[in-house]
């Protein structure tokens, strides 16, 4: 580790990074693993890794990229472990379907609800359920994508990263990122219909 760490204008201590980037990391995790239930665990893991490995960051952008990369990798590990430890885990399958619906609902009701699926769903669960079946929100549609596409879509549309930046962040070839994005958009179009413009 370089002892003469460049001191940049912004604070790069873990606590500062938590404050500044935890929401960002959380969203990337939710978007990638499609499940809120494990998201804050992963976020915690990401920041603990930060404390443990103490990478040297040149600037905040660098730190941000590191956090996103570690977060998305953690999700992938988790993805494996989900199938690993709960193979055939019906609830995870359900959860993958339900999670995004939960996401929106949870965030409006979570504080007061017990967190169970039906309880978090507004006041008319069945009605809402049917509605969700008919017209998915964008988040729900994204959650239906495979994990790699999800993370690329998220970084592209939410973090506004370029393909090159995504490739750098995910340590994947740009062509791969491109194809994930391409497939992801195609899939979104089939889920959401022609309602959205993806190029803007």
């Amino acid at each position: 580790m370089n002892m003469t760490t460049e001191v940049c204008s912004c604070d790069l201590s873990p606590t500062a990074l938590v404050k500044r980037h935890s929401a960002r990391v959380f969203r990337a995790v939710v978007a990638t693993c499609g499940s809120r239930s494990t998201a804050d665990d992963i976020v915690q893991r990401v920041f603990l890794q930060l404390v443990r490995t103490r990478p040297t960051f040149e600037n905040d952008r660098h730190a941000k990229a590191w956090l996103l990369r570690v977060a998305i990798n953690c999700c992938k590990d988790l993805h494996r472990s989900v199938w690993q430890s709960k193979v055939g885990s019906l609830d995870e399958i359900q959860e993958n379907q339900a999670s995004t619906r939960e996401l929106v609902a949870e965030h409006t009701v979570l504080a007061s609800s017990g967190g169970s699926y039906s309880a978090t769903r507004e006041h008319h669960p069945e009605e809402a359920f049917e509605k969700a079946e008919q017209q998915k929100t964008v988040l729900e549609a994204v959650a239906d994508l495979p994990p790699n596409q999800r993370s690329c879509i998220h970084l592209f549309y939410f973090e506004d990263l370029s393909i090159a930046e995504i490739a750098e962040t995910l340590e994947q070839p740009a062509a791969t990122v491109k194809s994930h994005l391409h497939r992801g958009r195609a899939q979104l179009q089939t889920i959401l219909g022609e309602e959205y413009d993806y190029e803007a």
């Binding site: 404390v51 494996r80 193979v87 055939g88 609830d91 379907q97 169970s116 979104l188």
Partner: protein
Amino acid sequence: MKPKNFRDTYKHEMEEIQLDDKQLASLLSAIEAEELTQGQTYSSVTTPATEERAYSPTPASAPVKKQRKRFWKDWSTAGQVVTVSSGLVGATAMLFFGVVAWSAMSTLFLPATVNSTLSEPFELGEAAQTELPLEGMVALIPADNDYTNIYTTLEQIHERDMRELERSRAEAEQRREAQLRNDSSRSFFSFFGNDSDDMATNEEPLSEDMALDSADSFAPESEMFFEDDGGSFGGASSRDNPDFSDTNIQVQGVQEGDILKTNGHYIYALSTAGLTVIEANAGNPRVLSTLAFDDAHGPSFRPGALERQGTTSPRSTRSASAAGSENIYSKMYLEGDRLIALWAITNDPMTSVHFPEMAGVDIFDVSNPASPRYLTSFSLGGNLVNSRMIGDVLYLVCTTYIDDARRERGRPETFIPFVNHDDETILAPASHIRITPETREMRAKYTHIVGIDTSRGGRLVSQAALLGGSDDLYMSTDNLFLLSEGQIRKPARGADIVGNATTVTRVGLDAGYIDIDNSRRLPGIVNNQFSLDEKDDVLRIITTFTRWEDFSQSRSQGSTGRGSTGWDSDDLITEEWEPTSSDFTDTTVWTLDARLEIIGMIDGFGIDEDVYSARFMGDIVYFVTFREIDPVYAVDLSDPANPRFLSELKIPGFSEYLHPWTDGMLFGFGRDACEITGIRGGLKLSMFNISNPRDVTREHYLILDDYRDSDASSNHRAILVSPERNLIAFPADDSYMIYSFHEQRGFELVERLPLISEGDTPARGLFIDDMFYVFELGDSPNVEVFILPDFQTWDFLWL
């Protein structure tokens, strides 16, 4: 209609998702605690901290130095430590430092055999201070008949946790104040301090538990299969003994649960549809019956009210399980005419509602597969870690947490693990409980082991418990080895040496009777169950040790007496060694006797690399480490006291699973990777020639550039390897791939079957006689049938 902008809509919806204040505060306090554990904060990189480190009460450098030298000498002269010479591993300065560092580390750990005996009272405070019981042999203390010492220990742990929290908070406070004085730009620390103080009493388990979580991602549930290659054997209650493939397991005779089981006539599949019973019917499968979990347990299933009956209702609706019934069948075993289904009710860590976690097993009589009959069930509190089955006996291993709020001295049921069966609660007997000093655990928990004889209607044979958690296990036919990850910390000249460690606990098994024997702590962690093997009462185990400490710290703190580089320099590690983000790692093969005393070891493998796969084949172990290239190592363990390095093969990429093929061939399933950067490429199939273990070569390989992800990378039950049928079948991305292997032409694609649902659909393949069945068990469960050997499509069925 003008299309809406996707980006804006997505952003808008995404911004709704936020960490709430409570989560943020909890995160901050976890970070702070971790910083304390690490003994420093970021700021100390530039501003050397002056405070005492959290876990280094006696940084006595001189005695440590003396002891270290002596120990290395003892070990090497005893001929028990064999280090691969640098020439073999591709000598670099890194290796040299690595080996030296390792020698320093091992001397710190190895001598630390516990002096305390079982009769001595368990003194937690002392253990936490000296930490000696954590290394070497771990004293397991038997429980008193009335569980008094367990209760006392639980109280001590609880108090310790509280004290620890108190202390962390105080120290964090002090540090913040110091920092405030030093650096006004970090003034927000104090602001957050208040938040985290509020949260501290609810603190989540810290690093230890994180490590445990990640351990889940290792294949925890199976056994091995070496000599029996394909995993294919006829057996089961069949009249005409069809030849069929069974779940890919590690140890012959030790069954592993999976989501698909067959006896050659009937196939049992777990999917969102529930537990489906399918008649194989010579390639024209028919669904006979479906068991939904809710049908068996009722929607109002509660602990203690296990009322259910076997039913054959139509498939459950998804909403039923989405509506809060989180208990689901996760795995099955098939033994004779009994189907054993495992389930678990777990807490969602995101919700504030906590109900007692439960795991259990339902036993069905499937002698009439059209109408499975529910026989009985056993349930226990906690999370299922893993399970195995030997003959009729099912072994469950659970982690059980103790609710400190509910704990009452006179009521053992509030703090002792139990099994529920037939409306009866059976506590683990005191004679079968051991206490291990788990001084770093933030919450008290047990590893609960249950042996159930599934024949004749089901019977609890015995149960045992270890106060202390477990992450993974390996089971041979005679013993269960529990693995628990932790860390080692040794104060050394101002900078703590920190590294990961594994506690191995040997548990004797005999037809369901369970006896906890011994525990030992080894430096390093275990990749997965394939890194262990028992042969002739010798446990062979591969660990990868990672040191986390940044030793440049010790220099900046003005430590003195730096000598030249060499064995007897204290400062080798700091000299010219730039820690990378994962610091230093080293892999060791250990041999341990039945008392878990170390017989021999050999280290120096994969400096700065992690173990990706291992396979023990008789006296020889082959294992793969990886960072940028993939050495395949062969080590001869025929003399356990003197493991010998045989060979090393370096090729790009790595194998995550190794499986014996025929005639001195070893099949490897893994990923390609760039030689220079280590960036991973497509999936890769490799065939190694191991007919001469001193000269392992790669005969053939095939890179699947378009496929990157496979369930089989981390779950050996997802891959089918059958040399007899010349089949290698596995899911890859959104396809199911079937390959064959020819000595001249290498790997050849036989069939690529696109899976219907994209994403992580679990898929399994199996053959029965001349029919090959590919099951897709996600949310669109189906089976497609092919005729071997040409893979003509034959039939298709929705489940």
